[in-house]
Point group: C2
């Protein structure tokens, strides 16, 4: 976070050999997901123009942005739209979180521009999805097409069954199933998407604090032997937010002495997959793709 | 909590004038609810024999126990049953929480007796309700009748509408409605029963940490201006656990700068009602009885 550049620059186009292909406009929030999207798109022959957010986006994104990176502040919706239009992008993907904590305490510190203020004024519900849906609507009103963040990630989505680590015991299996039901239940109301369960007791559920803080709280309350489950929201707009874990999650799971991580199959992602699963394997942490039972 | 007596005594019967009436066996956990139940039963002419739990029950319960108080340790299920049988109680009420934190970290520290161990061994799901249901079944297998904790509280249950403080603004009203939907949604899975919402964002939802810790977390994340909502679980077994607030909750709401507390009508309780609502009024904290909209 602290590594984001101080100087704000407009797009600096790197001239490369190809450039004649399709161009993706990637609005990159925090975490590893934007990197994953950019890498996957590039592998599939798509040019990538990035709009990155100061103090949020991992600067490593610049390496993957074949059509350059434009840094904006979090509230600059007008500038965001102009940047995408200047690049004449064919489609737009929103990927990665934009933490709302500061905004909830003091919206003025966001420095919302006129366009962002107009969007906020129209919103009643300010859950993550509602905010993203409003931003997407604003982009589409300008003729920009917002597509699913999973568009280039199809073969990287979590599959059903064991991905790493030991086969779960019946207790762990039952905890994973309960965690999935709770995580999906929360998602119905656009709250969090994660829960920690130990031996039939739901230790913690996630809201604004984020998955990491929730895991630490659960460990403090319940000690070793719990499981973490992440799921997508039911009926989630796939243009936003693929729930994901990565190396950091696996490392934190070790410190919290978790037995397993459950991920909803087809709708979640393991970032930096090979390294993350290898580390889970090394730790004997089970990583399991789950699906909600019907009925 | 620290005030609970060190010495463990069997029932010490106070001989009083009446004693010929109905006798309630009250299993008293922590918090103000057992005091409220005992006081209400006494007002309605019922004798009260209390089984109190060391390090959990407020010792003030002894003042309300017309047929004496028997102190047990939390894992002594066999002793609990014998105490109720010795008193020849006509009915049993379970009231007040028994914190499970220690138990989740290290079940052995509970000092479960043979009977409690047998019950635990049969349980897969160890949510609050599942545990209480198992204990109730064990009591009933001994011919004891467990009745609703609300049996003597009918005229104290929260009613619909404003109980204290200013009339909510439309934003606060909308936050209260969202909080109620989330709290009810959680309850479906026997998780918590409370949520904190600010301007359409769910800041925190409660699991094992308890309402107070959840409120503090929400305040740290989202600052002033949020609302707390407490609700009963859908289809909740009314023999267990009436969600309640009291003076402490109102005091913490002040420190967290909440605007309102929403309580599900007919299924929650304001403990020490007159003082608690007067304090809310003094603070200009709205206290509102809510009901889930159908459909």
């Amino acid at each position: 976070m602290q590594r984001s550049p101080r100087m704000r620059a407009n797009f600096q186009i790197r001239t490369r050999g190809r450039g004649m292909g399709r161009t993706l406009g990637l609005i990159a929030g925090s975490g590893g997901l934007p990197l994953e999207v950019a890498a996957a798109a590039r592998e599939q022959g798509v040019e990538v123009a990035v709009v990155a957010i100061e103090e949020h986006t991992d600067p490593a994104i610049a390496e993957l942005a074949s059509r350059g990176t434009c840094w904006i502040r979090v509230g600059e919706l007008g500038r965001l739209i102009r940047a995408l239009q200047e690049q004449a992008v064919d489609e737009v993907i929103l990927a990665g979180a934009v933490a709302k904590r500061g905004a909830l305490r003091d919206p003025s510190q966001l420095g919302l521009d006129a366009r962002a203020l107009a969007v906020m004024a129209r919103l009643k519900d300010r859950g993550d999805d509602a905010l993203l849906r409003a931003v997407a609507a604003e982009l589409e009103s300008e003729g920009l097409t917002v597509v699913a963040s999973t568009r280039y990630l199809q073969d990287r989505l979590t599959r059903l069954g064991r991905l790493a680590g030991p086969t779960p015991t019946p207790v762990v299996e039952s905890d994973l199933a309960l965690g999935l039901r709770v995580a999906k239940g929360l998602g119905t109301h656009d709250v969090g998407q994660s829960a920690v369960v130990k031996q039939g007791t739901v230790l913690a559920v996630e809201a604004v604090e984020g998955t990491d803080a929730m895991m630490r709280r659960a460990a403090a309350l319940g000690g070793a032997g719990a499981v973490l489950v992440k799921a997508a929201k039911p009926g989630q707009d796939l243009r936003f937010d693929v729930p994901a874990i990565g190396l950091q999650t696996v490392e934190l799971a070790r410190r919290c002495e978790l037995l397993a991580i459950g991920l909803e199959a087809d709708r979640t992602l393991v970032l930096d997959r090979a390294r993350t699963l290898a580390e889970a394997e090394r730790q004997q942490l089970a990583v399991i793709g789950l699906r909600l039972e019907q009925g």
